[in-house]
């Protein structure tokens, strides 16, 4: 019953959203170049189904690869900053400054630095745009560890490494997953930035761009829906991992 509810409610919300969309376009008599309606999307999907699959895969794996690097590097930065006040004070302004740069401006820079290495450039952008929240959350999680937690183990003669593995790491997991949910979405934006600004014949972003050039508006909207679908997919994978590894942090429903 509970699982039926958990699936039925969001699913009906999506259906209602599409019906409302269809109705809005119909009532206003909008032409396709203003706003395509959901019923126009299916033909677009069908016509380009092969491209959607292979481009969707390009976008997906490059996003996930960027995200994985972001997790490794972000956690690394977070650990260094969380465990050493000196490093925190040194690195924080640099990271904030870097994060403040609009990433769209970096696309041509990276494209010029590594001409032709399209996969790498795309993965790199997904990584660059998404590692900041992970670094910040891990560093905050570690630096706000109450000293008593450390003292409990330290007074037994535990090493710094043991304290980190037994206490600091698990205690930081809820914050980490919170940041990962943000990072997933950001990584997607990073991948698509490259695919749209520096099109290189790969990814959903490229499909979007071709739709724009050939004035195929239903195709453009279909790409948006496909992106949303991938985003939802990745997001819920993270939610599932969170349930498994940090489910203890969930407050019991009252």
């Amino acid at each position: 019953m509970e699982t039926v509810r958990k699936i039925a409610i969001p699913l009906s919300a999506i259906v209602i959203f599409f019906i409302f969309w269809e109705w809005l376009v119909w009532v206003n008599q909008w032409p396709n170049y203003k706003m395509a309606s959901p019923s126009d999307l299916w033909p677009a999907f069908w016509k380009f189904k092969g491209l959607f699959l292979s481009y969707g895969w390009d976008t997906l794996w490059r996003t996930v690869a960027g995200l994985l690097i972001a997790i490794i590097v972000g956690t690394g930065f977070g650990m260094v900053m969380g465990l050493s006040r000196f490093m925190r004070e040194a690195l924080y302004p640099l990271l904030v400054g870097f994060n403040a740069i609009p990433k769209a401006t970096l696309v041509p820079v990276i494209a010029l630095m590594f001409v032709g290495a399209d996969d790498m450039n795309t993965v790199m952008m997904a990584f660059l745009i998404s590692f900041f929240p992970i670094a910040v959350s891990v560093s905050i999680g570690l630096s706000t560890l109450e000293p008593e937690y450390r003292d409990i183990l330290k007074s037994l003669g535990a090493s710094r490494f043991t304290i980190f593995v037994k206490i600091a790491l698990p205690k930081t997991l809820p914050e980490f997953f919170g940041a990962l949910k943000v990072a997933v979405t950001l990584a997607f934006i990073g991948t698509n930035l490259v695919e749209i600004i520096e099109p290189h014949g790969k990814g959903l972003g490229f499909l979007f761009d071709s739709g724009k050039i050939s004035a195929d508006y239903p195709l453009m909207f279909a790409v948006l829906i496909a992106l949303a679908f991938l985003g939802i997919l990745l997001y819920y994978i993270v939610v599932m991992l969170e349930k498994i590894f940090a489910g203890w942090a969930e407050r019991a429903e009252t």
């Binding site: 109450e146 003292d151 409990i152 330290k154 007074s155 698990p170 997991l173 203890w248």
Partner: protein, 267 residues
Amino acid sequence: MKEENQIEINNVTHAYQTDDGPLPVLKNLNISVPINSFVAVVGPSGCGKSTLTRLIAGLMMPDEGEVRLHGEVITSPKSSVGMAFQNPVLLEWRSILKNVLLPLEIVSNNLSQKQKVDRAMSLLSLVGLEGFEDKRPSELSGGMRQRASLCRALVHRPEVLILDEPFGALDAFTREDLWQIMHELRKEEAFTTLMITHDLRESVFLADQVVVMSGRPANSQFVLDVTLGNERTLEDLYTEKSVKMLAKLRHEIQIAQGRSTKTEENA
């Protein structure tokens, strides 16, 4: 060196380095805790009581003087110490049983997993937490969490138990329950206790000796021998003997706080 003392604080002086220069906290402090006895330490807030516990646990070294456990000068944390604080600091991602088992994962021992679990379970049932071993800390009340914290502090059979205001955040009746449990634990297990508290009744009910620390920089200003027997009931706190001890302690605390003149305030 006196053999019969489990904990000896010898002429300990300590200061913290702060932005406004050194903050002297302890000055020529001397405290002795005989083996298997229970010493309560009371004193004005901020006088250095928690500092004292961290020195005994080997988490810090004193500027001057020495801390001895069982005659041995402390230079680093010793696994013969168990600690519990006002905040029970249970690990939310572990069950109660796994929380209690934590020290056995760190302190070297040659117990099998079954022996470890048996040990933890016997302590849990001693403090009335049987049946709660698989619960998460967040599912327990404050008093129950503190009981679990006591079990964790004792599971590796430490010689010394250090308690820093362990019952300070509990309501009065829960606190009295935990006093009884402390007595139960002492009947079953052999350990020497140094307990920080700001509850004078608690100190008299639980301790063999009460040390009053002076204001900062603190030394031991007054030591009271609690003349109640080993079998104590809460009613004993309301006998004339106890009331006199409490009044004496109250008086000493006021001196420590620098207001020795009589006030309307009650203990």
